[in-house]
Amino acid sequence: MNIIEILNLVHEYRELDEEGNEAEALRAVDGVSLTVEEGEFIAILGHNGSGKSTLAKHVNALLTPTEGTVYLSGMNVAEHKPIWEVRREAGMIFQNPDNQIIGTSVEEDVAFGPENMGIPTEELLKRVEVSLEKAGMAAYRLHSPNKLSGGQKQRVAIAGMLAMRPKVILMDEPTAMLDPVGRKEVLETMHELNRQEGITVVFITHYMEEVVDADRIVVMKDGKLVMNGAPREVFSRLEELEECHLTAPEVTRLAAELKKAGLDLPDGVLSVDELVNALCRLK
């Protein structure tokens, strides 16, 4: 079943001049169509300003389309009322871990979403406990968010989403401001939730190494969707990627270089083990 359906989406940021007339219209998303199946882990890649964030913000109605329609679990996102029925279906994690934590303690922050949904207190307590457990942050329940590491803050934010019991979690460059340890923490948590809870994940990033385990990769360039396929397939098209101002992970590039030099290697090698095994077979 398609949980997200985006049809010919266009989004323009309009700039007004001093008289209030339209001075400039910037097309951030330019005619994108995309469907995401329930339970999928989909990664969106793209250079800075390629429109990937703007695209994602349409799914939970933070932005309304200039043209086109977005469906989430069958609801027309832009028209559905009340709007929080859409938002509790698709949670969103943002880039800056500091700017999305509202509560002054971890448990209060996790409770914020369901509190807004009017969930009764006993149920709230249960949801907070379960969500923190799933995000691996149960030990920090009463801590102040200010003292956590970046990766831990993002996991608190993830627990905050889980407490709303969403079907989809949209992640808008959640690892961009983290160190390698934090990035790994967040990524592993999301994969686990995807596998165990069946939550659909839309993961936006520009770290190539982070997407090799995704079910599917979508690449955006200047507001358009230009590539869409399994990681192996996308990463075997190195030239196209470079045109999108992106690259492939180091191992993939090494394998491609070796192949060019005459070694009989497969396309789109994704991991260290894969490359080592392939080379062993050549011996």
Partner: protein
């Protein structure tokens, strides 16, 4: 010797009986024209350490010498030090404040008390060093894209013509092309004789450019060695929350599988040569 760091310590609780050291007895020196990478995970003390070099923090004990003079000494000219040792903080674009890019880059030279023409000449030179497009000089710095903002901010430091440039995570949050751009700028500056100290936790960034790597962990300097030496010790790196470049792991895997390859290889280019050598191509 351009910079000498002698047994410096830093603690936030100097009165405590057993103070916790953010920087714990660190010594190293920097020669003119070097390209050094300083790596370590968040909280390893690397950000504190670089602030000593710029006189923004004074070590609790130990000393930092710039051209042989103790920068913490009374009456030492910190203003000149900060001009000679340019420090680019993490997310430097957050320091932009002027109405145009050009004016913002002039801020440093202006603080040095240079005449207006000289300020602008230096600003323009700095902007061209970071390959900032001339057409955008008069734009508001707040209207730029992320990568350009970053480059404008770096130019703000370069306009003071530093001898040493220290950059704290200059590629954080940028896309692959933006990262490459910034690193290329660093290399060009180094080619022109500027000493570069690159603080990072991205091994891939570091591997390609640095000729010497300093590794910090829990306030201690645990490595001061060329990249091949540091990366071949990837087990130790992993223990302290870092890792070697992916390529190093490929070589390690091949070695284990019985290939006679060198394992002190850490860039795609070198790895390719080495593997092809073994395969006799």
């Amino acid at each position: 010797m351009q910079i000498e760091v002698k047994d410096v310590c830093y603690t936030y609780t100097p009165e405590a009986e057993q103070p916790k050291f953010a920087v714990d007895h660190v010594s190293f020196s920097v020669e003119e024209g070097e390209f050094i990478a300083l790596i370590g995970h968040t909280g390893s003390g690397k950000s504190t350490l670089i602030q000593f070099l710029d006189g923004l923090l004074k070590p609790t004990s130990g000393e930092v010498l710039f051209h042989g003079e103790n920068v913490a000494a009374k009456g030492y000219d910190l203003k000149t030090l900060r001009q000679k040792v340019g420090l680019v903080f993490q997310y430097p674009e957050y320091q932009l404040f002027e109405t145009t890019v050009l004016k913002d880059v002039c801020y440093g030279p202006k603080n040095m008390g240079l005449p207006k023409e000289e300020q602008e000449a230096r600003a323009k030179e700095a902007l061209s060093l970071v390959r900032f497009p001339e057409a955008s000089y008069e734009k508001s710095p707040f209207d730029l894209s992320g990568g350009r903002k970053r480059r404008a901010a770096i130019a703000g430091i370069l306009a003071m013509k530093p001898e040493v440039l220290i950059l704290d995570e200059p590629t954080a949050g940028l896309d692959p092309e933006g990262r490459e751009d910034i690193l290329n700028v660093c290399r060009n500056l180094n080619d022109q004789g500027i000493t570069v100290i690159l603080v990072s936790h991205s091994m891939e960034d570091v591997a390609e450019y640095a000729k010497r790597i300093l590794v910090m962990n829990q306030g201690k300097l645990i490595y001061d060695a060329p990249p091949e030496k540091v990366f071949s010790d990837w087990r130790k790196l992993e223990e302290i929350g870092l890792s070697a470049p992916e390529v190093t792991y490929v070589m390690e895997g091949l070695r284990k599988a019985g290939f006679d390859v060198r394992t002190d290889v850490f860039t795609v280019e070198k790895a390719k040569e080495e593997i092809l050598r073994v395969f006799g191509k």
